[in-house]
Point group: none
Chain length 158, copies 2
Amino acid sequence: MIKAIKKHKGAILYGSSLALLLLLLRWLEFRFLILSTSLDIYIGIIAVIFTGLGVWLTLKLFKPKAKTIVIEKEVEVYVTPSPQFERNQKELDNLNLTSRELEVLELMAKGMSNQEIANQLFVSLNTVKTHSGKLFEKMEVKRRTQAVDKAKTLSIIP
Amino acid sequence: MIKAIKKHKGAILYGSSLALLLLLLRWLEFRFLILSTSLDIYIGIIAVIFTGLGVWLTLKLFKPKAKTIVIEKEVEVYVTPSPQFERNQKELDNLNLTSRELEVLELMAKGMSNQEIANQLFVSLNTVKTHSGKLFEKMEVKRRTQAVDKAKTLSIIP
DNA sequence: AACTGCCTCATCCTTTCGGGTGATTTTACT
DNA sequence: AGTAAAATCACCCGAAAGGATGAGGCAGTT
């Protein structure tokens, strides 16, 4: 949803042009029929003002769009009964995997096929293949089973 | 041809909307002039409509900046003395695997291919396939990755 | 001897994986 | 505004995996 004004500059240009054209028409109307169209001018001004108000209000109210905030909370816990998984962040960083690649890896570890992963992530099979391919390169393995085994050994996944 | 429409659908959409709105304006003007109703109400409606237009336009053009993604991240630091593997013999018995099938399963878990397993066990590739096939049947899985995952979950293999 | 379970191997066929390449679009950062 | 990294998707091709089926050999049991 992050589409810049750039993408809609055509729309803005179009709208502005239309607006200018209408203003011109109104102005011409005004010049030749001052009395009978005074109401139209009034209405036009009202419209412009309130459109501006809407824009201003929206910008004012919906402006604080915070970016992703990552809060890492470190909690030391001694867990004897249930074996808790602790991700080895260092190893994970070393591999330099992208978020998508990691997702694919995790689903692979669950025994899912590429097609199933594709459905799960709402992307095409080809995309999953691309991710898995790069994943294998980065992990220096040849097969998904190796990737999963290595990832588990390195405690990258549970 | 279609691509051109798609590319400028934003402009078309906004232009059309604006045009429709102006038509509505005219229509209202017409109605209220005919009925000679209060001008204040007319102005009010205009104000509301254009305020809405402003809000709508702003929301459309200045899309939400950043979608905030997951935030919390608890890092649990715990110390495990020695995670020794203890084979779950009951589950293993339930599956009723033969010794050969279990061997194949263990090698699979190391990320080995059928061919590599065949070399390791000094049997043919076909034999490994046969074992793995029966293995999957008994474990009620469809893929080697699933078999490995299930076996680890059941603590049949480390 | 007959039966049974396991191991072995084969063939045919289909599906899944993985490698390679290229293209477009998003997103992020400068 | 321009660049770099990610993410998306496509097509091709060969390798690996998996399903189905049949068959021969071997050991232990009945």
